[in-house]
């Protein structure tokens, strides 16, 4: 970014407006600052800057920023490091000016070293080309002793430029020329890891098939929020977090709990003792909603489902997508539930 400071640039914002000005500074997580800026292109929504009027300082926020154009820009400085006419003069000037801008230089060079890995000149570029350059190196190290320690590497590939993630793989954003809103979040944006976010992407309709090999329940996200461990308040730990998702039901199963009118669907493992006193496996069995068997032993490993309404029988079970529900209030100690079967109901004590 330092390479374009002081150059005339054009910045386009999301509503299509274009501003021309002198690039002063930028922090692309916050915004871009232009000096002596002028609006040269009108967008959809106008904005608070009239067309053609000059602004001494214009700050364009990052959420409005679309692109920045620098015209006739030379990537590398003209001439090369070994030439004596241009570079020495330049370096002489920089040394002469350094007394005037010394304070600024301390901050600026630190920024060069620490923020812009594309230009590691503060450490390595002026290395072997004469006394003038070695003086600059020495001066830099005095001004900024930490620069060498940091040492953004030249030898290694620039970390920010070696890998470019696939910008377009299969995603085609809708054309939003007319609307000044960006495409949905996450289209191209790479979200940095967040301490409260699990490794899984944030999904609102998180569907996890209930089968024997399911991941530990405590790591499942809930209701679009990312949480690693969610314990319902006041409930014993054997209660697994509520799973807000349609659960797979065996369509061939006799009607068990085909419909529910309650807002919640709780799934509780039979804690330690099953119907027949056998220990209950912790893993969710594949046929959780399967059929409620005619004989009781199938209840082992089939966690009962807590339902408030009486179950309907002889109805083909549709997939029920539960609505949003709070976590804590729904999980309550259940003393006994009625689990319907084809042959009747069995009271289950928990």
């Amino acid at each position: 970014m330092l390479c374009i400071v002081g150059l005339p640039v054009e910045v386009q914002v999301k509503d299509g407006s274009v501003y021309s000005g002198i690039f002063h500074s930028a922090n692309f997580s916050h915004g871009v600052v232009l000096k002596k800026a002028k609006k040269i292109g009108e967008g959809k929504h106008g904005g608070n800057v009239p067309l053609g009027s000059f602004q001494d300082t214009l700050v364009i926020l990052s959420q409005d920023f679309v692109q920045l154009l620098v015209k006739d820009f030379a990537l590398t400085p003209e001439g090369d490091m070994n030439s004596t006419n241009v570079k020495e003069g330049t370096l002489t000037k920089s040394i002469a000016n350094s007394n005037q801008v010394e304070n600024k230089s301390i901050v600026s060079k630190e920024k060069v070293c620490m923020s812009d890995v594309k230009v590691p000149s503060c450490n390595n570029a002026p290395s072997t080309n004469g006394n003038g350059q070695s003086k600059v190196v020495a001066k830099e190290s005095k001004l900024n002793p930490s620069a060498r320690a940091f040492s953004p590497s030249i030898a290694k590939p620039r970390p920010v430029t070696t890998m470019v993630p696939p910008i377009v793989n299969t995603y085609n954003a809708p054309n939003i020329k007319s609307v000044g809103t960006p495409p949905p979040n996450g289209a191209y944006n790479i979200v940095p890891p967040h301490p409260f976010v699990s490794d899984k992407p944030l999904l609102y309709n998180n569907i996890y098939p209930v089968n024997g090999g399911v991941t530990p329940a405590y790591s499942q996200p809930i209701l679009g929020c990312q949480a690693t461990n969610v314990y319902p308040v006041g409930v014993a730990s054997q209660y697994r977090p509520v799973q807000i998702a349609p659960t797979y039901m065996n369509p061939n199963a006799p009607s068990v709990m085909a419909a529910r009118t309650g807002p919640t669907m709780c799934m509780h493992p039979i804690p330690q003792v099953g119907v027949q006193g056998a220990p209950i496996p912790q893993a969710w069995p594949r046929t959780m909603f399967n059929p409620y068997p005619h004989n009781v032993p199938r209840f082992q490993g089939v966690p009962p489902v807590c339902m408030t309404p009486p179950p309907m029988t002889n109805v083909s079970p549709p997939i029920i997508i539960p609505g949003p529900m709070p976590i804590a209030p729904t999980l309550r100690p259940v003393q006994s539930i009625m689990v319907p079967t084809g042959a009747g109901t069995y009271p289950m004590k928990l």
Binding site: C3, I4, G6, L7, P8, Q12, F28, S29, K36, G52, S62, V66, Q67, L69, V70, K71, D72, F73, A74, L75, T76, P77, E78, D80, M81, T90, L91, S94, N97, S98, V101, K104, V112, V119, P120, S121, C122, A125, P126, I154, R158, V160, T161, T162, M163, V164, P165, P166, V168, N169, N172, A173, N175, I176, K177, P182, P183, Y188, N189, I190
Partner: protein
């Protein structure tokens, strides 16, 4: 350039893309910043691979990847940046910015506020040969002679007679020249 499965873009790739605002861009990728989701592209033909070649001047674009609508990879190329040639002269940068600000201030002074495009064209034409400046909506020539709206030779007043006549002649010739270019120029 490493690709981890699929097709990943890296520095040096020649790409063509279209932004959501309708701009078509074709150029070589210089850099990509993940944190800010910014793609840096140098427009135009691929840079000369020779590190000692005279650097060409081309447009540089910093595009937020969120606003890329369509994207296609045209070719792969080498990293256009030669790091051993890169350096920053902070003094030069400061001087460049100061000079740019001074020039921008002068350019801003040349723009009339509340004047017509015709008036601005006349001002620009007069400024080529005479020292002029705006004073509200009047054109002040040599700090002495005033040209008022509608900026005809009859609207020239002040100053010495010789200078006044000279300004009238220059104004008349510039207006004729502007008219000769086309009605749209006035």
């Amino acid at each position: 350039m490493a690709a981890a499965g699929g097709e990943e873009l890296a520095v040096g790739c020649i790409v063509a893309l279209r932004t959501t605002l309708g701009d078509d861009v074709q150029g070589q990728i210089i850099a990509f910043d993940r944190l800010s989701n910014l793609l840096v592209i140098q427009e135009g033909a691929a840079a000369n691979a020779n590190a000692n070649a005279v650097p060409t001047r081309r447009n540089l674009r910093l595009i937020k990847a969120n606003y890329i609508n369509h994207f296609s990879l045209l070719a792969k190329g080498d990293d256009p940046l030669h790091l051993h040639n890169c350096f920053i002269d902070l003094g030069l940068i400061h001087a460049r910015e100061n000079a740019a600000l001074r020039q921008a201030h002068l350019d801003a002074e040349r723009i009339g506020v509340g004047v017509t495009a015709e008036a601005q064209s006349i001002f620009d034409a007069l400024s080529k040969t005479l020292p002029v400046r705006w004073e509200n909506t009047d054109i002040l020539v040599m700090n002495d002679i005033r040209v008022c709206s509608p900026y005809l030779p009859d609207n020239v007043s002040g100053g010495a007679p010789a200078a006044n006549e000279r300004v009238k002649k220059v104004l008349d010739s510039e207006r004729k020249r502007l008219q000769a270019r086309g009605p749209g120029q006035l």
